[in-house]
């Protein structure tokens, strides 16, 4: 609705103005679909050229034998790239690693994030400063996070092993080869990821906690609920939508992470920390197999879409107001 008082200030002869606006209104209605297209067409052209077209190309390429060094030679091979990927041990192991990495990283991030969020939500004196401090690494490049942990987890001069040795957990400071032992390499990569993104988890959960209506707590108090009861029956259930969204965002981002693993282990040793992103990168950049890399990328995309759809279905409430 038009605010007449404001319009009146702008123009003294407002009856005239109203007539004009009515006319404008009619014109606008007629023009709306065209106008809307005009506004998003530049962005759309960009996205079509550098997003939609590449994705179409990806799907098409996945049906071809296609080498990076001979870009004009394409041989149609049907589903063979897909069959090869799905039956190859490396691809299956890499997928399993990816799942393990995501579950490990996001699981621990969530637990740490919720602990920090709950602590900060008590609002003790100085909690704002600590929150600010915890937030500052949020915009740090994953590459830098990888580098930091490369220093700290080094088996020769890394501070992690020496600290564990000094407090008596390790008998020998060179005992745990974080990055070059097949048993630990994936965990080491997850540690870097957890370190980098727990603040994000904390931030979103904190916002969620602060968004819970005070009335709910009042009601719980009147009913005589204890602290732990309030937590289990008020805080946690109210947090579910926010937590699910935070988890889905993190699951997608952790599944597609590349930088941290590339910097820490490049997927090694013996493919023990290989995840889908690093594996596909190698397929493309080292072996130049566009066709098979594309097929794997399509499978990867479908997997992520399926996971997101599953999550969305869980949190999607059809009774919720739709804008």
């Amino acid at each position: 609705m038009l605010d007449i008082t404001k319009a009146k200030d702008r123009n003294a002869s407002y009856p005239l103005l109203l007539i004009e606006l009515e006319k404008e209104g009619d014109k606008l209605k007629l023009k709306e679909p065209t106008l809307s297209i005009l506004f998003f067409i530049p962005a759309a052209i960009f996205l079509i050229a550098f997003f939609i077209y590449p994705i179409v190309l990806l799907v098409v390429d996945s049906f071809y034998q296609y080498d990076i060094n001979k870009l004009n030679v394409k041989e149609f091979v049907g589903l063979s790239n897909y069959i090869k990927a799905l039956t190859s041990d490396r691809f299956i192991k890499t997928t399993a690693n990816t799942v393990l990495y995501v579950v490990l990283a996001v699981g621990i991030e969530f637990i740490l994030g919720i602990i920090l969020a709950l602590l900060l939500s008590t609002g003790f004196r100085g909690s704002n400063i600590i929150r600010t401090l915890l937030l500052s690494p949020l915009m740090l490049a994953p590459l830098v996070a990888g580098l930091i942990w490369k220093f700290m987890l080094s088996d020769q001069f890394g501070i992690v092993n020496w600290t564990l040795y000094n407090i008596g957990i390790l008998s020998d400071p060179h005992k745990v080869l974080w990055l070059s032992d097949e048993r630990y390499s994936l965990i080491s990569c997850a540690i870097a990821d957890i370190w980098l993104t727990t603040p994000f988890m904390m931030l979103v959960l904190l916002a969620g906690i602060q968004g819970i209506s005070k009335d709910l707590y009042e009601a719980a108090k009147i009913d005589g609920a204890s602290r732990s009861q309030t937590f289990w029956f008020v805080t946690l259930p109210s947090l579910i939508p926010v937590a699910t969204t935070a988890i889905i965002i993190r699951v997608i981002d952790a599944a597609r992470s590349f930088d941290i693993i590339w910097v820490l282990t490049q997927g090694g040793p013996n493919f023990s920390s290989e995840i889908l992103s690093t594996y596909m990168y190698k397929q493309l950049a080292r072996y130049g197999r566009i066709g098979s890399a594309s097929a794997m990328a399509v499978i990867f995309m479908i997997m992520l879409l399926a996971v997101s759809a599953l999550f969305m279905k869980k949190i999607w409430n059809p009774n919720k107001e739709v804008n």
Binding site: F40, A43, V144, K150
Partner: protein, 283 residues
Amino acid sequence: MDKRVNAKLEFNRLMEYPIAITTCLLALFFLSPYIYLLITSFKPATEVIASPPRLLPTIFSLENYRGMIEYLPIGKYFINSLIAAGISMFISVFLGSMAAYGFSRFSSNIGNYFLLFTLAVRIVPLISMAIPIYTVIKNINLVDTKLALILVYTAINIPFVIWMMIGFFDGIPKELDESARVDGCGRLSAFIRIILPISLPGLATTAIFSFMLSWNDFLFALLLTSTSSKTVPVGISEFLTAYNLDLGPMASAAIVFSMPVMLFSFLIQRYIVSGMTLGAVKG
């Protein structure tokens, strides 16, 4: 009743210190890796790889920073990073907010589908995009150019900008554009002259985020550049393939690369909070 409330308050006050101390310790634990990197960058090269490691350097040394400049054309990499992230930020913020304004003010079916598509884009793993984009860039002969990075970053940032800006535009009353129209502005000039200036805080937040997305990118820069247009992350990663002795300069480069971001995000953390929680809490 009153007594119980008082007892509860007292209990809270008693708990305040343990909670504060626990949180402080956790926060310190979280910040220490970055602080350790900062300290490492000021160690003499021999102490970087000393075993056992020392927490603090014996002498404060700029050796690693000198090494960083000697080993790498780091200045050039910085300029490349700035150009790629900066230009793509301007294009994506302008085109993205224009589209967002269109979505916010008019409704059309094509628009709704397009909006849904921009949301779906977040699910696409970047490596999947990188494979076809590599062939596209190679086919148009743009491998190892800053233009290639600018185009790719712009495309990646546009959906993000659209989603950020729709929220801001929806918050601006429609009466404002209507009165601008009355004053004789066209739709586009009303958008540029009235709506964009009002949404400046939102635009700034969005711009910072989209700048960071490109500034921190490693995958596309690694894949699409080889000599003349390498960005800082690619430069830093090159230390890894060389000898361990280069770890000191690498730490310095990482500090120089990330320090502005750390300080900056510290200053604007209020906006970061609203930006980061926007999608999650509203959804």
